[in-house]
């Protein structure tokens, strides 16, 4: 059985009874596209929508969608945390703040429930995986990372290019002050790779500690714009919460009340980039968040 999770044709390997219980039932087929959608009205997630409340255009062509789940889809939450000095105490992860940092991660893990998974990557010039995606509850021990350069672009791309298995919703939450010094990749490289990412990228932008010296307190404008673009294109959001668990609560609230739409592309050329546009047809003003497209290979 092959399923394409937003453009990534992958083998759906159902291996156990537990798997069957945990995963929503996906339609079998070779060309199925899965789109995770969050619908907000005045900032509040909107439950209770049905398939015909959605209109989905794939490269401008109307598609028949199936609403396969209104239930909570298992989450893979990848935290990507700038471990440098400019990020708030809660996410700093230094020796001094190790206790608070560990507590914050525990608080985050408490917001999840099995079979959700939590992963933690921290970066300065080094990108380190403190916790590979693991089913909650989890224990985190974070060693200090030298406060050298900040490879934000590289860390974001590394997270974006590690897809989750089908049947799970992948959320990347990036904690940063919006500064990058020393990445191999440029902001332009990052945005060019968004099409290859199956996750919704949320960005918690720390503006309180601000950069010192020549750069403004709100980060490098080019980098910040890149983060906004990545969040928008993947169906995520840029938040300005300084408190880690509070930010995560907000992110998870959106994700938990999301919808999973599937469709087999009809009437559109398969090869290349597909732009997706999802709207809600019910009366009213809705903020619909979903990835903006996928690459068919």
């Amino acid at each position: 059985m092959v399923i394409a999770a937003a453009g990534f044709p992958v083998l759906l390997n159902v291996t156990s009874a537990e798997d069957l219980q945990q995963r929503p039932v996906f339609r079998a087929g070779t060309d199925v596209i899965v789109v995770h959608v969050t619908v907000l009205q005045k900032g509040t997630p909107q439950p209770g929508l049905i398939a015909r409340d959605f209109e989905l255009l794939d490269n401008g062509v109307h598609q028949e969608v199936e609403l396969i789940s209104q239930q909570r889809v298992p989450l893979d939450v990848s935290l990507v945390v700038d471990a440098g000095w400019r990020v708030t105490d809660e996410v700093r992860g230094t020796t001094i703040d190790e206790k608070r940092f560990t507590e914050s991660i525990r608080d985050v893990a408490n917001l999840l429930r099995p079979p959700d998974r939590l992963g933690l990557v921290r970066f300065r010039s080094d990108i380190r995986e403190d916790l590979p995606l693991s089913t909650v509850p989890v224990e985190v021990h974070a060693e200090p990372i030298p406060a050298y350069w900040s490879a934000l672009d590289d860390a974001v791309v590394q997270a974006m290019l590690r897809p989750s298995p089908p049947g799970r919703r992948h959320i990347i939450v990036v904690f940063t002050d919006g500064l990058d010094v020393g990445s191999v990749l440029t902001p332009l490289d990052v945005t060019s790779l968004v099409a290859r990412c199956d996750a919704a990228v949320y960005v918690v932008l720390d503006r309180h500690r601000g950069a010192r010296g020549m750069l403004s307190s709100s980060g490098n404008p080019v980098v910040v714009q890149m983060l906004r673009d990545v969040a928008r294109e993947t169906g995520g959001e840029v938040l300005s919460e300084s408190d880690v668990p509070a930010a995560l609560k907000k992110v998870l609230s959106s994700a938990e009340h999301g919808y999973v739409l599937t469709y087999v592309p009809q009437g559109a050329t398969k090869a290349g980039w597909h732009e997706i546009k999802v709207t809600v047809t019910r009366p009213g003003s809705f903020d619909v968040r979903a990835r903006r497209g996928y690459v068919w290979k």
């Binding site: 990534f8 992958v10 440098g84 000095w85 400019r86 700093r92 230094t94 020796t95 001094i96 990557v121 010039s125 080094d126 990108i127 380190r128 995986e129 590979p132 200090p144 990372i145 030298p146 406060a147 050298y148 350069w149 490879a151 590289d154 791309v157 590394q158 290019l161 590690r162 897809p163 020393g182 990445s183 191999v184 990749l185 440029t186 490289d189 060019s192 790779l193 290859r196 020549m214 690459v295 290979k297």
Partner: protein, 425 residues
């Protein structure tokens, strides 16, 4: 041991063991003289960055007496012991800046390690007082230059900052530097006078205007020859119009200078320096001892000026000229980057894989290769590479991080090891 003794022992450990101890300068020099190098430096730094100025003062005050203690026969060796201790200590203090886990601590190490330049200069003067220079002393001068390169202290190394390219005879600036640095100005000239013709010192002199090389390469801010020509003309015109004597990174914009004009001046200065660096480095490119390093610089500078074929040739030569994995890695990595920019993805992949063969699982080549593969739709291959890199133990800093900054692919560890070995003999 009775309970009572145990408690006394614990008390002593708490009282003396866990508190930063301020060893006297003489004790530290004795330890270093005995070959207990790490112990001496560890103890010297135990008081944290704040203890360094006092320590430096004590070494300069007590050092001459300690050197004289052994009589004339042992004085030459003791001078070298003291001198090596000073640069070993300063490098470790500067490492504190690079590796501290908090901003405040990092800045404290930076501030105080800079204050150690008077100590290094004291050692320099100490060695220069003798009429001839021994091979070990020559190593000391080369190592001290490497140290200052890594600290990126331009007046200390060159006697002036990079603004001298634009304003070579500004007496106010020179007076200020004299006041700030005293005798610790132009250490490279002191070293060159003791080790004339040394390849690494020639390289250090030629690297003077390479400061912006890494920034331009990292940010892919390349200029085509016609863009550079236009920038040169605009920059020169603005310099004359504004009576400009060099922008400098920390200068406030004067009244009337628009952001656009400031950008032109800044870019003109940046690329002007790179052009000067290319001339200086080309002059030493024939020196076999340093040609791999020179090639890396010249390749990067050629890339800054969008001369991809020229840059590629420089990078391709590196592996033939050196076995230093850091330099070889960067040669392959940069070649991959050019190939990728030129749309030659297969060649780019080969070059990135060659870099990863040189130093496996390294973050920079992993990320670049993963991005390249993902663009080709090979996301699973990209993810596997990233997983492998994140799961690997890295026993050295990524050459991309250290290699493109000043003092990149540092020879410091081998220079220090050689000095220490010489002192042990």
């Amino acid at each position: 041991m009775t309970d009572r003794h145990a408690w006394i022992a614990i008390g002593l450990i708490v009282a003396f063991g866990l508190q930063p101890r301020s060893s006297s300068a003489i004790q530290l020099l004795d330890l270093y003289d005995e070959g207990r190098f790490e112990v001496a430096v560890d103890r010297a730094l135990a008081g944290g960055p704040e203890g360094l100025p006092t320590l430096a003062r004590d070494v300069m005050k007590d050092g001459p007496g300690w050197i004289a203690q052994g009589g004339e026969v042992r004085a030459a060796r003791r001078r070298l012991v003291a001198a090596t201790f000073t640069i070993d200590l300063t490098h470790r203090a500067f490492d504190g800046f690079r590796t501290a886990s908090s901003y405040q601590l990092s800045q404290a190490w930076l501030r105080e390690s800079s204050s150690l330049r008077s100590l290094v200069e004291w050692a320099c003067i100490l060695l220069r007082t003798t009429p001839t220079s021994s091979p070990l002393e020559q190593k000391w001068f080369v190592a001290s230059v490497q140290l200052i390169k890594e600290m990126q202290d331009e007046p200390f190394l060159y006697g002036d900052d990079r603004r001298s390219l634009w304003s070579p005879a500004d007496p106010r600036r020179l007076q200020q530097l004299q006041a700030d640095y005293g005798q610790a100005l132009n250490h490279l000239a002191h070293a060159s006078s003791r080790v004339p013709g040394d390849s690494r010192l020639r390289l250090a002199a030629a690297e003077r205007y390479t400061f912006h090389e890494s920034w331009v390469v990292q940010n892919k801010r390349e200029l085509t020859p016609s863009e550079y020509e236009k920038l040169e003309i605009q920059g020169e015109s603005l310099r004359r119009q504004m009576n400009w004597t060099g922008l400098g990174l920390s200068d406030p914009f004067p009244n009337g200078l628009s952001v656009q004009q400031a950008t032109i001046l800044s870019d003109a200065e940046m690329f002007g320096e790179l052009a000067q660096a290319r001339r200086d480095l080309s002059a030493v490119a024939g020196d076999a001892a340093i040609r791999a390093r020179v090639s890396l610089h010249l390749g990067c500078i050629a890339l800054c000026f969008s001369e991809h074929d020229v840059a590629r040739r420089y990078f391709q030569n590196i592996a033939a000229w050196t076995s230093d994995p850091c330099l070889v890695y960067l040669g392959h990595f940069m070649e991959g980057r050019i190939d990728e920019e030129d749309g030659q993805r297969n060649d780019g992949e080969t070059a990135y894989r060659a870099a990863l063969q040189t130093i496996p699982s390294t973050q920079s080549a992993t990320t670049a290769l993963a991005a390249l593969l993902a663009r080709d739709g090979r996301v699973a291959d990209a993810a596997a590479l990233i997983d492998q890199s994140l799961g690997a133990e890295h026993d050295r800093l990524d050459p991309w991080i250290v290699g493109l900054g000043r003092g990149g692919c540092s020879e410091w560890p081998s220079l220090l090891a050689s000095l220490r070995a010489g002192l042990r003999e």
